[in-house]
Amino acid sequence: MLYATLIAPFAEFEFMRRALVGILALALGAPPVGVFLMLRRMSLIGDAMAHAILPGAAIGFLIAGLSLFAMAGAGLIAGFLIAIGAGLIARATQLKEDASLAAFFLISLALGVTIVSVKGSNIDLLHFLFGSVLAIDDPALALIAGVTSVSLVVLALIWRPLVLECVDPGYLHSVSRAGGPAHIAFLALVVMNLVGGFQALGTLLAVGVMILPAVIARFWARDISAIIGTAIACGAISGYAGLLLSYHANLPSGPAIILVAGALYAISVMFGPVGGLIWHALRRRHLEA
């Protein structure tokens, strides 16, 4: 019975196995990036960048059809342009940062949907917006695997400057020039992971595999390494359980994965050891020291 529920769908169907591998690979590379997005208070910027990739991918689609190379390439370019644009805007108009970002992502979303509709059908549009993790082919898997590998290596390389830039940028600036390059490398990782996740989860939800595991992990761990480990685990669990849910309940898979993550989030907010609400409500005896 348990086998039929938990293992059989993957044992029997290749498309399920592919989807699982794809989503697990994503869950390895994206959550660590998401943890840093969250800690640097850039979660909404991540969301804006995800929306920005849509017009890029749509233009790729317009030019070359459903070619992964065209869509991913154009998506990357669009993502980088938005990353730079967001940075420039943040520097030039400090007070209006959130408003400019809101404008950015609304415009990109509308632009992307319009471009897709010119050439594609409604199904194409749904795939763009919500992904088609069950239709991941070999090139898409290769892309995700490549992005994850590069992500982990780069993150290991820029780890110290990245952490220090978050916690004490003044000190980093006084001892090293690594802060600027580390920040740019980090933005590049965000865009790459968004393009990788775009295939599986679509533009609207791609950032979910980054941010949700990170936010969940915050309720379970206190140290940054532990938070990243927990985030990866949560991403993997959400991916696995989400795919199962979509299989057994006949639901669209991308949203199902995000919903499972959402359920984990709700549980964490209530019961998480670090700042869970239930612990505030219970009156427990205080410690001696």
């Binding site: 006084s174 090293s176 690594a178 938070i227």
Partner: protein, 246 residues
């Protein structure tokens, strides 16, 4: 051999001077207190020494060291206290200049980190996240990081403000150790009694240097009054400075 030389230095913001025509040298191994009212230019002077701002006129000359070799403790460090990092890891960052962004830590390094944490009285706090520290504990932790930086020149901007007496005394002990090790220490301070008790050399700054030399000759009531009369606000209608630049 002078460590640091100010040549007719003027530092400021948008052409308004915050440090006006400062000239002089800081000797190797000096223990120099910089005293002055609020707005006197102490923090601005330190930013100039650290190269964070460019002089409006004149120059800061560093003899044989780079700004990255200076251990600098700013007045209000922009530290994100909600970041999930332990005291141990924060202090360990003091080894940046020797280990760089990728270098691993040897057993000796770890021993050094523990010794630094012990020296500031924070043994037992290693695994605590920095957000759980009080103001005094945070300052001790930053001093531990300074210890590990092992710098030849140390610049402290109001290190004891809002710190309790015991912590101040302990940290002052560390400053005196640095002086014994012939490191050059500059500290901006408000507590005149502390300066008189522990700092052999003082610069009294009130935008313009009022006096600079042995503490006893500098911190006279006459000089202190002169400094107090300095105007804090920038003069919107000021003319261009008539003193010729070199």
């Amino acid at each position: 051999m002078p460590e640091l030389r100010f040549r007719n230095l003027t530092l400021g913001y948008e052409r308004h001077p915050a440090v006006h025509h400062l000239d002089g040298t800081v000797e190797n191994g000096a223990l120099l207190a910089i005293v002055g009212p609020n707005g006197a230019g102490k923090s601005t002077l330190f930013k100039g020494i650290m190269g964070e701002i460019k002089p409006l006129a004149g120059a800061v000359e560093r003899d044989g060291f780079d700004t990255r070799d200076v251990a600098y403790l700013p007045q209000a460090a922009e530290i994100d206290r909600s970041f999930p990092i332990s005291v141990y890891d924060m202090v360990a960052m003091g080894l940046w200049r020797s280990r760089g962004p990728f270098g691993g830590f040897s057993r000796k390094d770890h021993a050094g980190i523990e010794a630094a944490i012990g020296a500031v009285g924070l043994t037992g706090f290693e695994e605590r996240v920095i957000g759980s520290l009080s103001g005094g504990q945070m300052q001790r932790m930053l001093f531990a990081r300074l210890l590990l930086q092992d710098a030849r020149v140390i610049v402290l901007d109001e290190p004891f403000t809002a710190i309790d007496a015991k912590t101040s005394a302990d940290l002052l002990g560390l400053v005196e150790d640095w002086h014994r090790e012939r490191r050059t220490v500059l500290a901006a301070l408000h507590d005149i009694d502390l300066v008189k008790a522990s700092f052999p050399e003082t610069m009294l700054l009130a935008r313009e240097p009022v006096a600079w030399g042995a503490t006893a000759t500098v911190l006279t009531p006459e000089n202190l009054n002169k400094a107090r009369r300095m105007c804090e606000a920038f003069d919107e209608y000021a003319e261009a400075c008539a003193v010729a630049a070199e």
